[in-house]
C-alpha cells in the first residue's frame, strides 16, 4: 500500500519515488542512466534519511499536529499487538454499550508485568474509522474505562493508558448519556487509585477526552505528539474568528501544544524520541521505545509508593 505523505514531506516523497523507480529497474534488469544502480540507490537512501532528519528536526507546531494525526501513525491496537503479551480485551460499561474508540483489557506489558491497558484507536481504513468513531469515545467508553480502572485497583494491577484522540465525541447521543459526567467520573476515579498509572500521549491529546485517561503519576509524550485544550482549528475559529491557512498555524503556535513546550511547562514528565521521519516511518521502533519507557516509569512509580495521594498532589500543584 502506498504510504501517505504530508504536504511538507514533498522532498521525502520525491526521493522515495526515485528510489522505488530504480529498485524496479534493478529488478527488471534494465539499464538506466546511472551505471551503478545499487550504488545510486544506496546514495539516495542516505539522502532520504538526511532529508527526513532535517525535516523532522524543525517541525513547526502545526506540522506536528499533522504528524500527530498521520493516518499511518501506530494506533492503540498496534501498540497492544506489539507490546502486550496474552492480551485479553474487555468490553462494555455494563450500563449501556460498547465503545471501540477506547480499547481496554488486561495483559502482560512486554511480558514483564500484568496490567490494565486503556488505549484509543482511530481505526485504519474507512470502515475501521467509522466503527471506532475516529477515536472519539462516547460516555460508554469513559464508563468502561472507569470500570477497568476500578478493576485494576481491586487486583493491584498498574494502569497503562495510550492516548490518541481528537477528543470526546460531541454528539446528541453522547450528551444524552452524560458525556460530561462520564469524563468527570474518569478524573475522579484516576485520582482515587493507589496502583501506578502511567499515560503516554501517542498522537493527539484532544482536550478533556484525552485528560480523562491521562490523570497519571507519569505522563509521557511521543516526540511529535500534541496535547491541548482545543484543536488549533477550533481555537482559530473562536479567537481569530475564522479557521484558515493563516490562522490555524498561529493558533497551533499560541496553544503551546507540542511535547517540548509541555515538558517545559512541567505538564508532562518525559518525551519519547520518535524514529527519523516520525513514528509512522518506523512504527515498530517507535512502539518498542514507548514499551521500554512505560516499563521504566511503572517501575519508578511502584517504587515511589505514592499512591492516590501523590497523584492528587501532582495535579493540585499544576498551575498553582
Amino acid at each position: 500500500m502506498a504510504r501517505h505523505y504530508l504536504d511538507f514531506e514533498k522532498p521525502v516523497l520525491e526521493l522515495a519515488a526515485r528510489i522505488e523507480d530504480l529498485r524496479a529497474a534493478q529488478e527488471r534488469g534494465e539499464s538506466v542512466a546511472e551505471k551503478d544502480l545499487a550504488g545510486e540507490i544506496a546514495r539516495l537512501e542516505v539522502r532520504l534519511a538526511r532529508v527526513n532528519r532535517l525535516l523532522y528536526r524543525h517541525l513547526t507546531p502545526v506540522q506536528k499536529v499533522q504528524v500527530a494525526r498521520h493516518p499511518e501513525r501506530p494506533q492503540g491496537s498496534d501498540y497492544i499487538e506489539a507490546l502486550v503479551e496474552d492480551f485479553v480485551p474487555l468490553e462494555g460499561d455494563r450500563r449501556f454499550g460498547a465503545d471501540k474508540a477506547l480499547v481496554g483489557g488486561v495483559g502482560r506489558w512486554m511480558g514483564k508485568f500484568p496490567c490494565v491497558i486503556l488505549a484509543n484507536d482511530k481505526g485504519k481504513d474507512t470502515n475501521g474509522r467509522l466503527a471506532r468513531n475516529f477515536g472519539m469515545p462516547k460516555p460508554e467508553g469513559y464508563r468502561k474505562a472507569q470500570r477497568l480502572m476500578q478493576m485494576a485497583e481491586k487486583f493491584k494491577l498498574p494502569v497503562v493508558t495510550l492516548v490518541d484522540t481528537p477528543g470526546a465525541y460531541p454528539g446528541i447521543d453522547a450528551e444524552e448519556r452524560g458525556q460530561s459526567e462520564a469524563i468527570a467520573g474518569c478524573l475522579e476515579t484516576l485520582l482515587q487509585l493507589d496502583v501506578p498509572v502511567v499515560s503516554v500521549i501517542t498522537g493527539e491529546g484532544g482536550s478533556g477526552g484525552a485528560l480523562a485517561l491521562a490523570v497519571a503519576d507519569k505522563v509521557v509524550m511521543l516526540e511529535h505528539s500534541v496535547y491541548s485544550v482545543i484543536s488549533p482549528e477550533g481555537c482559530a475559529a473562536i479567537l481569530w474568528k475564522e479557521a484558515n491557512k493563516e490562522t490555524i498555524p498561529l493558533a497551533a503556535e499560541a496553544l503551546k501544544l507540542t511535547a517540548q513546550d509541555l515538558l517545559g511547562l512541567k505538564i508532562i514528565d518525559a518525551i519519547v524520541k520518535e524514529p527519523v521521519g516520525g513514528a509512522h516511518n518506523d512504527a515498530q521502533l517507535a512502539m518498542a521505545r514507548v514499551g521500554e519507557r512505560v516499563a521504566a516509569e511503572v517501575a519508578h512509580v511502584r517504587q515511589a509508593k505514592g499512591g492516590a495521594q501523590a497523584r492528587r498532589e501532582r495535579f493540585l500543584a499544576l498551575g498553582a
Binding site: 485520582l191 478533556g208 482545543i230 496553544l255 493540585l316
Partner: protein
Amino acid sequence: MSWLTDLVRPSIKTAKKRELKADVWEKCPACNGLIYEDDLKVTLFTCTHCGHHLRWNVDARLAHLLDKGFTEIEVKLPADDPLKFKDRKKYADRLKEARKATNHPDAFRVVSGKVLGQPVTVVALDFDFMAGSMSRGVGAAIATAAQHALAHKQPLLAITASGGARMQESTLSLMQMARTTAAIVALKEAGLPYIVLLTDPTTGGVTASFAMQGDVHIAEPGALIGFAGPRVIEQTIRQTLPEGFQKAEYLLEHGMVDMVTPRFAQRDTLQRLLAHLTAHAA
C-alpha cells in the same frame, strides 16, 4: 463556530421602543416581553411574563442565597499569562479589561457563610469575567474553597456558569479539570457534602469536571448544561438539535441532575439538603 458568542447575553434591543428608557426596562430573551427593571430585582431576575430565568449577576445571587454577614475567602493567584498568549488581542489586555469591568481579579468568588443558618463554603463562577472560563485562577479558587470547607468541616456549594476552558491558558487550563477534581475528591472522602448549583450556561471543561461531581446536582430552569456547545455538535453531526436539547429539564429527564429548582426555591432546598446531609456529622 464561535459558539461562545452564543452564550454571551444578547444585547437589549431598545431602539424600537424609543418611548421606553433603556435603563429601566429589560427584554426577556425567551418571550421578548419587556420587564420593568425594579421588578427584576424582586423576581430575582426572572421574567414577570414567562418565568424565564435571566442571567444574574454573581454578587446579587450570593447576596440573595446567603444570610447577611458572609465573608470572602482569600485565593492566592498565580502570575498572569504564563504562555504570553496573543490572538487578535493580547490575553494580558483581555484580563485588564475584564478586571476593570468586574472589579475582580478572575472569574470567581469564594465566600464562607450560611444558608438560612446552615454553614457552607461557596465558590461561584462569574460569567461576566471572560465567560467564567477556567483559568488557573479559577482552579485555585475551587481548590481553595474545597480546602477551606475541609479545614472548617463545612459543606461546599459550587455555583457554576462557564463557557469552558480559558483557551489563553491552553493545556494549563485543561489541567485545572484534574486539579479541581483532586480538591473535590479529598473533600468527599472526608464525608463533607458537595452540592453543585448549575446555572446558565455551564459547558465544556467545567461541566466535565467539578460541576458533575456533586453529591447533589441542582439545575436552574432553562439553563444550558453540556459538554460540547450546541454549535460544535451541529457542525459535527450536521443535524438540527432537538427542542430543549441540553437544557436543565433535558438533563433532569436524562438523569444527570437531581432537580430543576427555580431561584425562589433554591435557598429553602439548600437549607434542607445541608441540614439532612450534615445531621450525623461529628
